[in-house]
């Protein structure tokens, strides 16, 4: 069973366009198909120049994050029937906001990935490792369980008003990454990382708007994690 949909897509080719333009494509689709299926059909059958990222096609790689009817999400994880339609079966697709557009739906992710580098995003432990695994109780692992599921798609940071206002702000994704290592019982660089996240454009720029939580395709309570970081930072300062 198929229905008619209109894919309204924001286009921009830096070699041709001085400003973004909009293109519309009419598609027959099964409502149980993915938004990504529509994009692939357009690229395969009508306009090969339509440019977007994609790879795993089931929500684990994070390539196809984009703005879908006003809300950031993964095109491969959003079924047509789940897109809140404006009544006229139109699906509006735009690149992730607040990141430089390279072409059509492809944004430059470098500024986003660069934020992660600022929080020392790796396990640091210079003690001589034991013969076998370092023990970690299931309860201790529970603390980092959500944070390790982040796929770095960029949906959260690019939906954050604090990031829109201050491009130097670390943003929800990098703060979540800091949390992931600060709360890992095996890590030994908590103080250094806390220092890097509590600086001027860090933790305190989070005003708990919850946009990040709303758009996260992995349903991570990012604001909640940032709140725990804030509590730890205050505690360390007082102590």
């Amino acid at each position: 069973m198929t229905e008619q949909y209109i894919f309204r897509i924001r286009r921009f080719d830096p070699e041709k366009d001085t400003a973004p333009r909009w293109d519309e494509f009419r598609l027959e689709m099964d409502p149980a198909q993915r938004v990504l299926d529509g994009l692939i059909t357009i690229k395969d059958e009508s306009d090969g120049s339509l440019t977007f990222r994609r790879s795993c096609a089931h929500g684990v790689c994070g390539s196809c994050a984009m703005k879908i009817n006003g809300r950031n999400g993964l095109a491969c994880q959003t079924l047509i029937k789940d897109v809140p339609l404006a009544g006229d079966s139109t699906i509006v697709l735009e690149p992730l906001p607040a990141l430089p557009v390279i072409k059509d739906l492809v944004v430059d992710m470098e500024p986003f990935f660069a934020k992660n580098q600022e929080v020392a995003p790796y396990l640091i432990n210079k003690e001589t490792p034991p013969e076998r695994e370092r023990l970690q109780s299931p309860e201790d692992q529970q603390k980092i369980l959500q944070s390790i599921t982040c796929i770095m798609c960029g949906s959260c940071t690019s939906s954050c008003p604090s990031f829109w206002a201050d491009k130097e702000y670390l943003g929800p994704s990098a703060l979540l990454k800091a949390y992931r290592f600060i709360f890992d019982t095996r890590d030994r660089a908590v103080d250094e990382r806390l220092e890097s996240v509590t600086r001027l454009h860090g933790l305190w720029r989070c005003h708990s708007v919850f946009n990040c939580v709303e758009v996260c395709p992995k349903e991570i309570d990012i604001t909640g994690h940032i709140a725990k970081l804030k509590r730890l930072a205050v505690k360390k300062k007082l102590g």
Partner: protein, 574 residues
């Protein structure tokens, strides 16, 4: 632009990153990837990584060695299987130290679960050997290895598409790649080059593989005269989500899930009475296809049910959260309440570029090496998987042999001079791109690709026969020609993914020809290669590896004996 590094790694999945970490202890390392590093397909691996840690119940590397050999239908080389299984425990402990967040036992050790073909005491009963991080094991390891590579000072070149790997006079000197963002060609000169570019499941219509898994570098090496080993062995994973091919991990059966046909029968009892639903993948895939062919698919349709309704909901939530989400999003099914419709999906290439135990690429079946060229991971065939790979051995393969290749590179670059890449090589690549872009009219890649994938699925998937394979080989010729006549609407340099897809299509068809040709050669049934016209395994004639060489006349085939050290081939029963 020209870059100069001691080591060039192509591919940023588990094998490439593990090798990069190792090689970076000995010199400068560049990693190029056509995606971002954290987006490599390794990140989609769900169920686990195998190692006889014995954390949950007694286990031994020797049993792991036996299971892998038997699982491979005795086509795996036992000397390298032994190396992998004996190195497994050290490997997992090291990954844990690097930060991988494995799931834990109540005592805080790495937790382990059951998986297909993992047994204790040489096949007596299932054993808990799969180390896991819920059902996101690949993701957990990929991120840790990427993070540690960054810490080691590895230089990353994301979104660079490799267009050629330069080999002259038996020596590899680096690669030529397209920077997607700018459309500029970059030349990477290195003392050692490691190809870790992953699999090529996109040859088939229904696959668990990422859209980026198109086997570009294997195809490039094939064109450069490097043979491809055991290409006829392509694994179908029994439980792909119906219609989509998205993987439902074997861990689901490891945690107690069972397969049911239309009559509600647990049909695996008939095919593998000892370990039932935890039989190896080739056997379960054939069992499902047989049930469907004999009319016992659900409602007479072409799928069966994977039933988790009897599994404790807490276990589903804690250990299988990701696949529960997939079922809910894509099928509208809560696996705790309804069975999951599944069908075998193209999953893993056992074949690839032949290497020795230290990742050196072999240029023939006699063992001559290409100086300065290494390979590891799914694109490589060190032959630990033989005719059928056991679940959890792919991740183990990537990290064990990625590390070994990195160590071998470390000693090689100490004494190796740098090669050169002549301007003529770059011009040839540039001319190829220009010719593609300058063509006025032609088909779009998408239509040709879909028809090609459907054809491969139809004639060369779980079951094969001579008539189909001979037809397929004939039919692939026009596809090669169509792929050579594609038109590209996008003439720009910036992020030209239309150009990229046209190039990838050529590679897919090139590898399709190698698979079809190799499958026609092998007149027996073994592991994932199941010939209806030769239903039995024939150890007298076929206990050997297939080497396909691309020549001007077509594909030449030569063969190499299997290394048998410990376990003599016997009939495979479970």
């Amino acid at each position: 632009m020209t870059h100069d590094f001691d080591t060039l790694v192509i591919g940023a999945g588990l094998a490439g990153l593990r090798a990069a970490i190792e090689a970076s202890r000995h010199g400068s390392v560049a990693v190029i990837t056509k995606l971002y590093p954290t987006r490599s397909h390794s990140g989609a691996a769900q169920g686990g990584i195998g190692a006889a840690l014995g954390n949950e119940e007694p286990d031994s590397p020797e049993w792991h060695f036996y299971d892998t050999t038997k699982g491979s239908d005795f086509l795996g080389d036992q000397d390298v299987i032994q190396v992998m299984c004996e190195d497994a425990i050290r490997t997992i402990v090291e990954l844990e130290h690097l930060g991988v967040p494995f799931s834990r036992t109540p005592e805080g050790k790495i937790a382990q679960r059951r998986f297909g073909g993992h047994t204790r005491e040489f096949g007596a009963a299932p054993v808990r050997r799969a180390c896991y991080s819920a059902d996101r094991t690949g993701h957990a390891i990929l991120f840790a290895l990427y993070e540690q590579s960054e810490l080691q000072g590895v230089t990353f070149f994301p979104e660079f598409q490799v267009l050629d790997i330069v080999i002259e006079n038996g020596r590899c000197s680096g690669a030529i790649a397209l920077h997607l963002k700018t459309g500029e060609l970059h030349v990477f000169i290195a003392r050692a080059t490691l190809v870790a570019s992953g699999g090529y499941g996109r040859i088939f219509k229904t696959t668990s593989n990422a859209i980026a898994s198109t086997g570009d570098c294997l195809s490039i090496l094939f064109n450069r005269g490097i043979p491809l080993e055991d290409m006829e062995f392509f694994q179908f994973h029994p439980t792909g989500l119906y219609g989509l091919g998205i993987l439902i991990t074997e861990g689901a059966r490891g945690e107690g899930g069972i397969l049911l046909n239309d009559k509600g029968e647990r049909f695996m009892e008939r095919y593998a009475p000892t370990i039932k639903d935890l039989a190896p993948r080739d056997m379960v895939s054939r069992a499902i296809m047989t049930e469907i062919r004999e009319g016992r698919g659900i409602g007479g349709r072409d799928y069966v049910h994977l039933d988790l309704r009897h599994v404790d909901r807490k276990i589903i939530e804690e250990r299988l959260p990701e696949i529960s989400t997939f079922c809910k999003i894509y099928m509208g099914i809560d696996p705790g309440e309804k069975p999951i419709p599944v069908l075998p999906t193209a999953h893993y290439a056992m074949g690839g570029v032949p290497t020795d135990v230290d990742g050196r690429v072999l240029k023939d079946e006699k063992g001559a090496v290409v100086e300065g060229l290494y390979a590891a991971g799914e694109c490589a065939c060190v032959s630990v998987h033989g005719a059928n790979r056991l679940g959890c051995n792919s991740l183990l393969d990537t990290v064990v042999f990625g590390r070994r290749a990195g160590m071998a590179i470390g000693s090689f670059i100490k004494q190796a001079d740098k090669g050169t890449i002549a301007a003529g090589e770059v011009d040839t690549v540039k001319d190829g791109i220009d010719a593609l872009l300058n063509r006025k009219n032609g088909e779009q890649a998408g239509a040709v690709r879909s028809a090609f994938q459907a054809l491969m699925m139809d004639k060369c998937s779980v079951y094969r026969n001579e008539a189909d394979l001979a037809d397929l080989i004939q039919e692939l010729r026009p596809y090669r020609e169509r792929a050579g006549r594609l038109g590209i609407k996008d003439k720009g340099k910036t992020f030209n993914t239309e150009l990229l897809e046209a190039i990838e299509l050529g590679h897919l068809i090139n590898l399709g020809e190698a698979i079809a040709g190799s499958a026609l050669q092998r007149e027996e049934s073994r592991g994932a290669h199941s010939r209806e016209d030769y239903p039995g395994r024939d150890d007298n004639a076929w206990l050997k590896h297939t080497f396909a060489f691309k020549t001007e006349r077509g594909i030449d085939f030569r063969f190499k004996p299997v290394t048998v050290t410990r376990f003599q081939p016997v009939e495979r029963k479970y």
